[in-house]
Symmetry: C2
Subunit: 155 residues, 2 copies
């Protein structure tokens, strides 16, 4: 079993843009969510992935499979109604790690979240100056929850 | 998008056993179910599959992917607690189609359901004498619902 170890932070201001090295638009949807298990589809450029994540905050079991992009497009359209997110993901290197800054679209416009994957749960982290409040354990900011939200969470 | 066209019937009595040609034990679990979308794992002999089904009764959109058996075993164990089924599936040819007769185990012991996949929704079907009440549209008998049941449905 693989694990994802990820910390997430709110972002305010555009300062991170100066350090961004790459941007890709991605669309993702949730086929189903139950008891903390989420089954996510993600379409990013010409690649599609199906990702199963188990319950957890900082550390979550994770399984990923490449699938045909046509399948992903069909499922996003037919099976993820009301459970979709579109965002542009910017890669921003900082402190020896690659941060990903997600700029959300549509009903979530205005929301910007920075994620960083860690090699270990206790890996030391140098926060960039543009990282705001940590939301790793704030379920309102989980992508699976945001996918059904009609506005960014308040506070 | 693929579609599964399947009719399902209760089975009483052992008469079908005389015509059965093959039996395989299978374990399946549901990673998550939401708004009629189900994400199922199935482990059958040395093969594992992840299957996504959309809402529907007789006709359901369906996508299937082979995955490593070790992944399936881990996920069945860690992510499908309380959402698992074990059964033995018997293949029983009848009227030019292959019927599958599922004999359930554990809390569902005593339940036997016959399924048949049709090439088209209006394909004529010759019912075998051992097929009882049709449960295609009775959600209590859907595998995804049975997986969380602590006894066979009544009636």
């Amino acid at each position: 079993m693989g694990f994802e170890i990820e910390r997430r932070f709110l972002v305010s201001g555009p300062a991170w843009r100066d350090a961004a090295t790459r941007a890709r638009r991605l669309v993702q949807g949730y086929l189903a969510r139950e008891d903390g298990v989420t089954v996510r589809l993600r379409l990013i450029e010409d690649r599609a992935r199906l990702t199963i994540k188990g319950p957890g905050g900082l550390v979550r079991p994770e399984f990923e499979y490449d699938i045909p992009t046509a399948d992903a497009a069909s499922m996003l359209d037919a099976l993820c109604t009301g459970r979709r997110i579109a965002k542009t993901r910017h890669e921003v290197p900082h402190g020896g790690l690659m941060w990903e800054v997600d700029v959300f679209e549509g009903p979530l416009a205005g929301l910007v979240i920075a994620e960083v994957e860690l090699p270990a749960a206790d890996h030391p982290l140098t926060l960039p100056p543009w990282a705001g409040r940590e939301v790793t354990d704030d379920s309102r900011y989980a992508n699976a929850v945001l996918a059904s939200a009609d506005a960014p969470p308040r506070g």
